[in-house]
């Protein structure tokens, strides 16, 4: 069938809205079946990715409900402008991706490669901004294995507040003991504006230390008396220590989720490079069929989706 005829008419087993005519593999009856199979297959794979990230989101949301003050506290170390820029960059890349698919459907080689290169540039920009964020975490002492909450706190105070002694310039909630669990009323006070807090609200160290559930006792060694009786441990951890540990939990989740997301970005980039390479060589799998590009596009949009949820949940905690 000629290209002209394909543009003009919708012959029964031609590729419908697009212009190029796609070849059909031996196991399929016609092109519609093949196309739908590929799309359904890709969506099924994306369902697995949804469950993959979803389980991580579950861990995140569980710890957020258990330790709300910690999350509130730790997000001040995350740069909102950078996060918002990242989101914008990814949205741009999503748009460029879908335009690349349109070009592929119409068989326009230059358009397809151009748009794909734009997607690549956007993703490299994303990774670059991520690298900036990660390196600042590293400098501040919030890095994996090298976690130093006190240092990060001091840096933040210096930057945000000048050199004031009390890190949290808020009125502390009255009479919360250092290690008692937060009650429902306290949680309400934490979020309600009636306590006349400046918005966005930063919790006090006491509130942070109060924000715990099921802490196991400090694992310092138990001392054993001569009678063979174990006396208790040296006491519950201090408020700052607890806050530091909780912060480490938050950042474990932060690095885990954003790291996993960045890994998916890299995989997506590799797939796009493959497509670009194949197209430059005029390989039939991408010249005759737009489906590979569309499938990569679906994957890329999914990666964007994950970030759309990650950004408000991690960066915009209030």
């Amino acid at each position: 069938m000629s290209l002209r005829a394909a543009i003009a008419g919708n012959t029964p087993s031609s590729s419908h809205g697009g212009v190029i005519e796609q070849p059909v593999s031996h196991q399929f009856e016609d092109i519609d079946q093949q196309n739908e199979c590929y799309i359904v297959g890709m969506w099924t794979f994306l369902v697995t990715e949804i469950m993959f990230f979803g389980a991580f989101f579950l861990a995140y949301s569980l710890y957020r409900t258990l330790y709300p003050a910690t999350y509130l506290d730790c997000h001040r170390f995350l740069s909102i402008p950078l996060g918002a820029t990242n989101t914008g960059v990814l949205l741009l890349s999503s748009w460029a991706m879908v335009m690349a698919v349109v070009s592929a459907q119409h068989g326009r080689k230059g358009g397809m490669i151009g748009w794909l290169v734009l997607v690549l540039l956007c993703s490299m920009g994303f990774l670059g901004i991520k690298a900036v964020e990660y390196s600042s975490k590293f400098r501040e002492g919030l890095w994996v294995g090298d976690f130093n909450y006190a240092k990060a706190n001091r840096e933040w105070i210096k930057e945000e507040k000048g050199d004031e002694g009390e890190p949290f310039a808020q009125t502390p909630l009255a009479a919360i003991p250092g290690a008692a669990p937060m009650t429902g009323a306290d949680t309400a006070k934490l979020y309600h504006h009636e306590a006349k807090r400046v918005f966005p609200y930063y919790p006090t160290v006491q509130e942070l230390a109060a924000d715990y559930r099921y802490t196991t006792p400090d694992t310092k060694e138990l001392t054993k008396t001569e009678a063979g009786v174990y006396t208790s441990y040296t006491g519950p951890p201090s408020a700052v220590e607890t806050a530091s540990k909780r912060a480490q939990l938050f950042f474990s989740i932060y690095f885990g989720m954003t790291g996993l997301h960045a890994l998916h970005i890299i995989i997506g980039m590799m797939m796009m490079l493959t497509i670009i390479g194949l197209r430059l060589k005029d390989h039939p799998s991408v010249t005759l069929d737009y489906m590979p590009t569309e499938l990569v596009g679906l994957y890329w949009h999914f990666v964007d989706l994950v970030w759309i949820f990650l950004f408000p949940l991690m960066y915009l905690i209030s």
Binding site: S25, C37, L62, P292
Partner: protein
């Protein structure tokens, strides 16, 4: 997207030359060689190693899986052999405790992730699913090949981790032991399991798309064999569940390597969260291991009783019900943890409910056999032993689902016996039955019936001798995974070990006669069992392109009797006698 320009320059076997040959020739003497086997089939389509390692033919991939799965099975069996020898004495025999821990962990990891999960789907499913629905191949043949390679890579990593240092965290990898305190090769083993999980996902993905979109014309959902319903439900579980364990195990790897602690109590994390996430997959995983076996039994019962499965739609929906409900019960593995009482009660109730669909299947099989023309072939031996052993396993699961008894029985040998009744007595027996049933289709040769029946009986006896004493030991209080145990359990452990040697024999015998049959077995022909199904209408072994012409299906599944006769009988309100059932003409 293959066409004639292939991304990988793979030798395709549906060349016009081949198709024309089968299209133009009558089914005459040219099609068969002197023995009666078809002249051109998928096994002799090409002989190079490359044609096997780069094949996209689902049948060849199934054979590749069959060989590799069997190897893993033998390794897992060897590990538990060492354990069973150890357990004949309360103080152990020749292993240190660390080595003992590594042995039972190896057995668990290999058997669950590398044998049971892929066994029926990857071997039997890959081979038979397209044949049963009248398709030329799966939807994504190259993805199918990738799934085998992922399986091999994952398996190699796991074996490497087990062989060079071992893993002693159990197949359940509970934190914080696995994430912090164990100093064995947990991370590498977990990465291997992670990759093998992706193999599972790609297989499931393939099956789902194939069953949805590539059925032969006229083959509606309620005309597909019940094995396909079971495979479809299994694939749904795989897709929805495996990623969760993937991320969970990945988190443990990260905690071990980068020390980012999600499950660490020091940081305020909860080790029980690991258990939640792990069992969110691993409970549906036991249905991944179980459902294909249940599906196989449908085929075995129908073929051996020459009768339509009673209550077809009930059995079909029960597969879906098991898939859905299986996702709602994970907490029953955690009754003895800090999981709250209220959620434990919810999980307990739903666990009772999830037994119902399985029971529906069993009752429907019994109703099928009633007044059927029952043939006691070796496959029927396997099917019947499945029904008995699976029922025992399922009923003992109810003891574990009820909270009060579970407190006493959890983490004892009762649990071990329960799940082995399901997995070995159920899933493995189903796998063996399926291998026997479709062996003629896969190889074109019949295995010898006598040794097959013998091995089924030996398997049954050995299995019960191995695992029934474990129910007793568990009920009396012996904890599981213990190297040294109190002497009062010794008699049960010794019985169990003795039984396990008989069980091993029952598994080894088929190895011999299957290999023997490849050369000396009787030629099977297309339909040695007289069964009804699309796969029995094509030659054994099938040609690479499966069907010369895609059939148009106008009949119901398992139509051993023409539909009109069934309707007439129901109108007359008399159940048909065996003689009126049309035995299949070959």
């Amino acid at each position: 997207m293959e066409g004639n320009d292939n991304l990988m320059s793979v030798q395709t076997y549906d060349s016009p030359h081949g198709a024309a040959r089968s299209a133009s020739a009558d089914h005459g003497d040219e099609q068969e060689n002197s023995e009666g086997m078809p002249r051109f089939h998928y096994l002799n389509a090409a002989h190079t190693i490359k044609s096997w390692l780069l094949t996209t033919d689902h049948k060849r991939i199934a054979i590749l899986y069959l060989i590799s799965i069997s190897i893993f099975f033998l390794l897992g069996g060897a590990a538990i052999g060492a354990v069973r020898i150890e357990l004949t004495s309360p103080k152990g025999q020749f292993l240190s405790s660390e080595a003992y821990n590594k042995m039972f962990s190896a057995h668990g990891i290999i058997m669950v992730f590398l044998f049971l999960v892929p066994s029926i789907p990857a071997t039997i499913g890959n081979f038979v699913l397209p044949l049963m629905i009248g398709a030329r191949d799966l939807a994504f043949p190259r993805l199918n090949l990738l799934s085998w390679y992922l399986y091999m890579i994952g398996g190699a990593l796991v074996l490497g981790a087990l062989a060079f240092g071992g893993v002693d965290a159990g197949w359940t990898f509970y934190t914080p032991y696995s994430s912090v305190y164990s100093d064995t090769n947990v991370a590498i083993a977990l990465i291997g399991v992670f990759i093998a999980g992706f193999s599972s996902i790609t297989t499931g993905l393939n099956f789902i798309v194939t069953v949805h979109k590539m059925r032969a014309p006229g083959m509606t959902w309620f005309r597909i064999p019940l094995f396909i319903w079971a495979m479809y439900a299994t694939s749904v579980i795989i897709i929805l569940g495996t990623p969760v364990v993937a991320i969970t195990l990945l988190l443990v790897v990260l905690e071990r390597t980068l020390h980012i602690g999600i499950f660490s109590p020091e940081l305020g994390g909860d080790p029980v969260l690991f258990q939640h996430m792990f069992w969110f997959y691993s409970h549906p995983a036991v249905y991944i291991m179980m459902l294909p076996g249940l599906g196989v039994i449908n085929e075995l019962i129908a073929a051996n009783t020459k009768k339509r499965i009673f209550g077809y739609s009930f059995v079909a929906f029960s597969s879906i019900a098991i898939a859905v409900f299986g996702f709602l019960v994970w907490g029953h593995h955690m009754f003895a943890t800090s999981q709250s009482m209220y959620s434990s009660m919810v999980f307990s109730v739903i666990s009772f409910l999830v037994a119902v669909p399985s029971a529906i299947k069993v009752f429907n099989w019994l109703a099928t056999m009633y007044k059927g023309s029952v043939e006691f072939s070796a496959t029927m031996y396997y099917a019947l032993s499945f029904i008995g052993l699976f029922t025992i396993g399922g009923l003992t699961g109810l003891f574990l689902a009820s909270l009060a008894t579970d407190i006493h029985l959890t983490a004892t040998y009762f649990v071990v016996a329960h799940f082995h009744y399901i997995m070995v007595g159920g899933s493995l027996t189903g796998y063996m039955g399926a291998l026997h049933f479709w062996w003629p289709k896969m190889t074109g040769r019949l295995y010898p019936e006598g040794p097959a029946k013998l091995s089924a009986i030996v398997l049954f006896i050995g299995f019960n001798l191995t695992f029934f004493p474990q129910f007793i030991a568990g009920y009396l209080g012996m904890p599981r995974r213990y190297h040294f145990y109190a002497p009062e359990y010794q008699v049960w452990q010794q019985m169990s070990s003795a039984g396990s040697s008989i069980l091993a024999i029952g598994m080894i015998i088929p190895l011999f006669y299957f290999i023997w049959s490849l050369k000396y077995g009787k030629v099977a022909g297309p339909n040695p069992w007289g069964a009804v199904g699309l796969e029995w209408n094509i030659p054994s072994p099938p040609p690479t392109h499966n069907f010369d012409t895609i059939p148009v299906v106008t009949w119901e599944a398992y139509e051993y009797q023409p539909h009109e006769e069934i309707e007439a009988e129901l109108d007359r309100e008399s159940i048909g006698a065996p003689s009126s059932a049309q035995g299949a003409s070959v």
